[in-house]
């Protein structure tokens, strides 16, 4: 990372843009949650916004986009495992035969 004053000032400004984006999307996600949509839609939208905000934090605040390619891939794999773990539990747990009802 450079320590030239001009570059640092530019970097500082970039962080402010990211900050603004994060605040805007926070307001957005709260506003959307007040609308009456189906649960599935609400989940997908909320998660999509969270993933977008999260990737802003990771890419800029944690300056991940400046790292070497192999490290990006490593963390992408971790992210895939994270999502895979959650999704597999969702899909795997309750594969009940068609027509049967889940009685708790």
């Amino acid at each position: 990372m450079s320590s030239d004053m001009q570059d640092l000032k530019k970097e500082g400004r970039a962080y402010l843009f990211v900050f603004a984006a994060l605040i805007i999307f926070t307001i957005l996600t709260v506003t959307i949650s007040k609308l009456h949509v189906a649960l599935a839609v609400a989940i997908i939208v909320a998660l999509a916004i969270a993933i977008f905000k999260g990737s802003l934090v990771v890419s800029f605040f944690m300056h991940f986009i400046h790292e070497k390619k192999i490290i990006l891939w490593l963390m992408f794999c971790v992210f895939l495992f994270f999502m895979g773990m959650i999704l597999s539990l969702y899909f795997g747990e309750y594969s009940i035969p068609h027509g049967a009802k889940y009685v708790p």
Partner: protein, 576 residues
């Protein structure tokens, strides 16, 4: 830390609060060997009950008290306590610290050409966390109700409602998991950052590769168990119902909890770790065997690249096979088919590695040193263990074999015959580098042959019992079941065999300590004439390991290079 500042460290800084990877490796090794011995003692007591159910335990029976063994006769609760702690101690306190941490710590920084592990103080904390976890596990025996007794797998609802020993188990596990996480990241950082110039990834000794993959498994797979442990702790202390379904009745009374929990949640979280954990157990052993084999065949190992890719495949696949431990939980056929497929696939890279080991022997000028005997014996033992896993990996035969002695035999073949033979190979092989003395060969043979034979006589009959349908974790060994009657006599044979197996370790213990204090000193820093960097250092290596940064010019197993003067060419030797 510069090596020319050989400042005298105090006793405490050198031996107790050590940050030098070699000393930490020794600390891990000695502590792990103690736990190995202790865990073995636990099962030897269990084996008395299995061979002669309902009879008083001889000599030591009276020391267990009325709550565990009234009149010296083991109670079922005591059997469960021994079983759960045998598994926990062996897996988490003995094998992983011995295979991964002890050998890894001593050897890996040397083999990559580093002055120490990347984070020496975190290394120290990692050992201390392990030590504390071990102390907690041991002291849990003295709690009211005894130590944990719901199996090393700690399934709820039983684990949620068991006496306080289970809480101690959870706390101990948190320390042990912390130790593994810190250790794992240390190894990865060391291998990535501290390789000597010229030490590319494809020039790494295979042991370093196995340690690297194991470290990744540890940091990715352990946290879900940590999460599960936290949830179980909250269930037990704050009355939550993460793992308690609604409507549970205990001792005739409904449990007063909010309910809504899932017992399967624990199983998924546990086995998400549990499966990679078994690869954590075996991979360092596979690596050690590679080192000993390469050194004693005096030619390069066959298929280094294939072995590396197989290893990476095993690492990746091991994260997506876990539910093969859960085929009987009522999961749907789709999910069953998925895990069955990945489980079958993961056997392939393991076979590739063993095949490479076997092919390496072809045309080799084999030196039958004591470490080589153990390394050679590893191959068929691992093959038996691995092959017997196949019916378990397929969901249909697993319906019959799940939770029987077949499973016990299968996994013990991998950890007891295969892995322990690998560990012994490692001990005999690296002993001269660590201590400057070579272990006695005659005692080594007296240790090896009975151990190999007795390991087989102990565990082979268990397959037969399992196929007959004898369930595991039965405190009478199946005596009250009709289907077990035909194979009950095998319990006596297995138990006697296990006790003799214990006796067969005495030559090793004698050899170990006698050589340590009075053994013949090796005249060379490289008594096995090996190529890897740890043998190109003084014995034992000093602080900072290498006086100058070594430069690596060649691969790890350049034995019998045509045109070379010697039959081995060290990695840091530029010209032959």
């Amino acid at each position: 830390m510069s090596s020319h500042e050989e400042h005298k460290l105090s006793f405490w800084r050198k031996y107790i609060f050590a940050t030098d990877h070699k000393m930490i490796g020794i600390q891990y090794g000695l502590t792990a060997l103690f736990f190995l011995f202790f865990g073995f003692c636990l099962v030897m007591i269990m084996r008395w009950q299995l061979a002669y159910p309902g009879t008083p335990i001889p000599f030591i029976g009276k020391f267990f008290g009325e709550s565990r063994a009234p009149g010296g006769v083991m109670l079922p609760e005591f059997y469960d306590e021994l079983g759960a702690m045998h598994g926990t101690i062996m897996v988490f306190l003995a094998i992983v610290p011995l295979g991964f941490a002890a050998f890894g710590n001593f050897v890996v920084p040397l083999q990559v050409g580093a002055p120490d592990m990347a984070f020496p103080r975190i290394n120290m904390v990692s050992y201390q966390a392990y030590f504390i976890g071990g102390v907690i596990m041991l002291t849990s025996f003295f709690l009211p109700g005894g130590a944990a007794s719901a199996g090393w797998t700690a399934y709820p609802p039983l684990a949620d409602i068991n006496p306080i020993g289970q809480t101690a188990w959870i706390v101990g596990m948190v320390f042990i998991i912390t130790s593994s996480l810190l250790g794992g990241l240390n190894f990865i950082a060391t291998v990535f950052q501290l390789r000597a110039p010229g030490m590319t990834f494809m020039r790494l000794p295979f042991f370093v590769w196995t340690e690297l993959v194991t470290a990744f498994l540890l940091i990715l797979a352990f946290p879900p168990l940590e999460a599960a442990a936290i949830l179980q702790l909250l269930d037990r202390t704050l009355g939550t119902s993460f793992f308690l379904p609604s409507g549970l009745i205990v001792s005739g009374k409904p449990l007063e909890v909010s309910g809504g929990g899932s017992v399967l949640l624990w199983q998924h979280l546990f086995w998400f770790l549990g499966h990679p954990e078994v690869y954590v157990l075996i991979l360092p052993g596979i690596g050690m065997v590679a080192e000993v084999l390469a050194n004693n065949i005096r030619k390069p190992l066959f298929g280094y690249k294939a072995m590396v890719y197989s290893l990476l495949t095993i690492g990746f696949l091991s994260m997506i096979v876990w539910a093969h431990h859960m085929y009987l939980t009522g999961m749907g056929t789709a999910i069953s088919a998925f895990f069955q497929t990945t489980t079958m696939i993961i056997s392939i890279p393991s076979v590739i590695i063993i095949t490479c080991y076997t092919i390496s022997l072809w045309g080799a000028a084999i030196r039958f040193t004591v470490p080589m005997l153990f390394a050679l014996a590893f191959i068929p033992m691992f093959a038996i263990g691995g092959l017997t896993g196949l019916p378990l990996g397929l969901s249909s035969p697993d319906i019959y074999l799940h939770d029987t002695y077949y499973v016990i035999a299968h996994f013990h073949y991998i950890v007891a015959p295969a892995l322990l033979l690998a560990v012994f190979a490692g001990i005999y092989h690296w002993f001269p580098k660590i201590t400057g003395r070579k272990m006695n060969t005659v005692l080594g043979h007296i240790h090896f042959w009975p151990t190999l034979i007795l390991m087989n006589t102990t565990f082979m009959p268990m397959f037969i019992q399992g196929l007959a349908g004898v369930s595991r974790r039965l405190y009478d060994g199946g005596a009250q079941y009709a289907h077990a009657q035909g194979v009950l006599h095998l319990n006596v044979m297995i138990s006697i065999s296990s006790w003799f197996l214990a006796l067969a370790q005495i030559p090793f213990i004698i050899n170990f300590f006698w050589t340590l204090f009075a053994g013949k000193k090796v005249k060379s820093d490289n008594p096995w004439q090996a190529t890897t960097l740890e043998w190109q250092t003084p014995t034992p290596p000093g602080h900072g390991n290498f006086a100058v940064v070594p430069v690596v010019y060649r691969g790890p197993y350049e034995y019998s290079v045509p045109g070379a003067k010697e039959d081995f060419t060290p990695q840091n030797q530029e010209h032959i």
